[in-house]
Symmetry: C2
């Protein structure tokens, strides 16, 4: 059917057109069906049906216009066509039939090319969540995610990498782990994420010190030059399917296990990692509530690594309290820098960072068995880690002369005082993150929470439990109001039993 083109100045996120109800009936198509747009070129688009487009016209969203040529054509021929094969494969997956490697590849490829509608995407992630995937399917999903994106191929090996499952606030350890590992001659091209629902992702932290948006080629260059990078994965085209999956999962608050595994390992596989350490924070309020859950996840990650030719080791870490005493970009960077500069800082941060770095040093052959942590600690103490971080900052275009005192939190601050004498008997990670976010984190880097008292610590009435920092006073007000309404820490006058802080790693 030849239709007059009405360009729509809106990006639909997909190749999409709008057809008048009458014309759609005539063409025998409904919303969600596909049509081929035929001009001098061909393009398959998703159909919307509506009466805002007059009969004889077709509304063409911006992506289609751009794809069709510099100027949107005046008229276009519309021919109904079948849905992509991958929609059939998703249906098969809904029916709990095992998918082949090729079928999974097609689904992921169509996802990356924006060929699937939101309804189809949601059906896939919902089915993944309910039905799960076999180990074969998870492997194929991971391979498809790697192969539909950019890959980095290093000439030198081994390549080291590190990932945290997340769920624990203040987890700034990459700022220490990456320079410790790189300072010992190993290559560690760390791509990381920005916070989606958290207060600060590793990319948000590093951005306080240097730019984090680099292409795959640049990541390779910098890593080869200085031994490591800390960049934002989203700036590359590495495993682009991951972002598409997250966009469908986030609105449903789900994180299907198969996609959790594939997402982590695809990003490691795409940078050519040989040895990977994965931090699994465990405990109430984290993504992995019990040790048993953690061990199961570790086994799955190790097995998936084997299938992909990567050596994976997992560290179960204490996650029921924040790492260190700061949450939010600037505060966390300040705390990490201070440790690098002075070895002064929270034990939880130093122990965890050197523990994980030590595992990598052993895996990469820089330390002998059981001596990795010692070497990591020595690298930190000697200032070599700080020197390496400065090299990385400089290579990424930041100021290498920065010191922790240069990093200023937001100028607006407020304290939350203890309502009584006693011990902190409950500490709610999620509330701390909510308060930091209300204060502006991660968008305002100066926003965050300084934690004075952690679980099991003693406090006197009126002493501050936390200090909230913000760049904007109205955000401070909102964060403080939330904190006062629902305390993130619970203090009781008397503890029946003194719960000693649990040793980290």
């Amino acid at each position: 059917m030849q239709l007059k083109v009405q360009p729509i100045q809106i990006r639909a996120g997909r190749y999409k057109v709008v057809v008048n109800t009458g014309d759609a009936k005539e063409l025998g198509i409904l919303a969600g069906d596909r049509v081929q747009l035929r001009d001098h070129s061909y393009l398959t688009a998703i159909v919307e049906v509506g009466d805002m487009i007059p009969p004889g016209n077709v509304g063409v969203y911006q992506e289609c216009c751009e794809k069709l040529g510099k100027v949107c054509p005046l008229t276009i021929d519309l021919v109904p066509t079948s849905r992509p094969d991958s929609v059939g494969f998703i249906r098969k997956f809904m029916d709990r039939q095992k998918l082949t490697q090729e079928e999974i590849y097609h689904i992921i490829q169509d996802m990356v090319r924006d060929n699937l509608t939101e309804i189809e995407m949601s059906a896939f992630v919902t089915s993944s969540y309910i039905n799960g995937m076999t180990p074969d399917e998870v492997e194929w999903l991971t391979r498809a995610m790697i192969d539909t994106g950019e890959k980095i191929e290093f000439d030198t090996h081994p390549i080291m990498d590190k990932h945290s499952i997340g769920g624990v606030p203040g987890n700034k350890i990459s700022l220490l782990v990456v320079p410790i590992v790189a300072a010992n001659g190993l290559l560690i091209p760390k791509t990381s994420s920005r916070a989606i629902t958290g207060a600060a992702g590793t990319a948000d932290l590093m951005e306080v010190l240097a730019p984090v948006e680099f292409t795959a080629e640049e990541i390779k260059d910098i890593t080869e030059r200085v031994g490591g990078v800390i960049t934002w994965g989203g700036a590359t085209n590495i495993a682009p399917a991951d972002d598409k999956l997250i966009r469908a999962e986030y609105p449903l608050s789900i994180d299907p296990r198969s996609q959790l595994l594939a997402s982590i390992m695809a990003k490691k596989g795409a940078v050519g990692a040989d040895n990977v350490v994965i931090d699994i924070p465990t405990g109430i309020g984290t993504k992995v509530p019990t040790m048993e859950d953690g061990k199961k996840l570790a086994r799955e990650l190790i097995e998936l690594g084997e299938r992909l030719g990567m050596r994976v080791e997992c560290a179960m870490t204490y996650g029921a309290s924040p790492v260190g005493r700061t949450v939010g970009p600037a505060l966390e960077v300040r705390e990490a820098l201070k440790v690098l500069e002075t070895m002064q800082g929270p034990n939880s941060l130093i122990e965890k960072s050197t523990g994980l770095a030590g595992i990598l040093l052993e895996m990469g052959g820089a330390a002998v068995k059981d001596r990795g942590k010692e070497l990591a600690m020595e690298t930190l103490r000697s200032g070599k880690a700080l020197k390496k971080l400065k090299e990385i900052i400089e290579a990424q275009g930041g100021n290498p002369d920065v010191t922790h005192t240069d990093i200023k939190p937001g100028e607006h601050k407020a304290e939350l005082p203890a309502p009584a004498d006693g011990y902190v008997i409950e500490f709610h990670n999620k509330r701390i993150v909510e308060i930091a976010r209300l204060a502006g984190a991660p968008t305002d880097p100066g926003a965050g929470v300084w934690i004075h008292k952690k679980k099991g610590e003693i406090v006197k009435k009126g002493e501050p439990l936390i200090t909230i920092f913000a760049e904007k006073s109205w955000k401070l007000t909102s964060a403080l109001k939330s904190a006062e309404t629902d305390y993130p820490l619970i203090v009781e006058g008397m503890l029946l039993e003194h719960i000693r802080s649990i040793r980290i790693i």
Copy 2:
């Protein structure tokens, strides 16, 4: 956040706004989150994020503009708000936790109010498909679908109704069943559907004879006046959730059992039906392949009816071949009218129609047990059914003087000849429907297929198997090409065993 309004002249199907990426970050919201629009009134809208809207602006789709007032305001305050509770209930449902009646009501209410995104809708129907629903949940779903729409309350009872599960082409029996039942003094307010993937729904058929779009109030009036109606349910606000569910299910080609049951029974419940007969076409190529499946479905429908206070009886009918010999609006109406006028016509049509009408006559007390079919046949033979149909046609605004010879199929036609002597050993319902649709059905009422030979019938080489009718010659060409490429009937020179046509009902 106060933002400048940019009206978007597009209907989004929901209350939706577009926020610039930077502003969204500042507000801490992502695509699919909700915001409150605050002007002099409040409105909750779904967020899209994109860079086509400049910072400081908000793109406001048409539905929002209309809801906010006659003229879209110049600026509006945007405040992030939580997702509707029903999104949490959908998540609970994904986790296979049993939903309460109130939770199901909330989901359906938000669906009807267009408060759910496509991702959320798809997660609900996908979960329904994979996890199923308990009988309690199906009952509550049905009640919610009834209560979130319009209801008809008749002063006289009993109210009769009829439904077919569908999946068999040429199923024009409502054109006979409704007048037979109404001619015997019973009320039958039949709302029906248009074909979505079929060649002609009952509403498409009736529209050849009279208008079919009436409000619930008009349906009540006409039924009380002449005993029956045959209207398009989509014109009313009866069980509006059904249409929303179908829009999410169609793109995935799924029809979850729970929604199949609820959809049928909600429409019957909303018109206050006391006695319902349900036609379950069974056999290869139908929605219900085996007798066992059919019996299971029948039990579920009867049980759901009991829960809702409706008496339901089911008729398992032969569905592997079309009913009668015509498929497509005009052809089917012509065939049905001819039977009403002359009692001349295919046995499959007469037997099935009087069989189902007979069940209703017995249920409604118009006939004694086991004599319903006889009375139905007598009503047909005596011309009372024809007289009643004419009354209904007139009451709906059509021409009551119409005869079957007035109904003309499309002027373009072509025959598909038998390639050899022999019996028809295979007959593909789905191919017949595809060919009828390619010829233009149901949009072009004159388009369709006349079936000369059915399964088990003998044919000589060169004799026509089917005749294809179309209103437009290019559609005829396309349908004929498809038919020739992949024959809908298979003729073999010899049958190993003569399969006698199975007796209907």
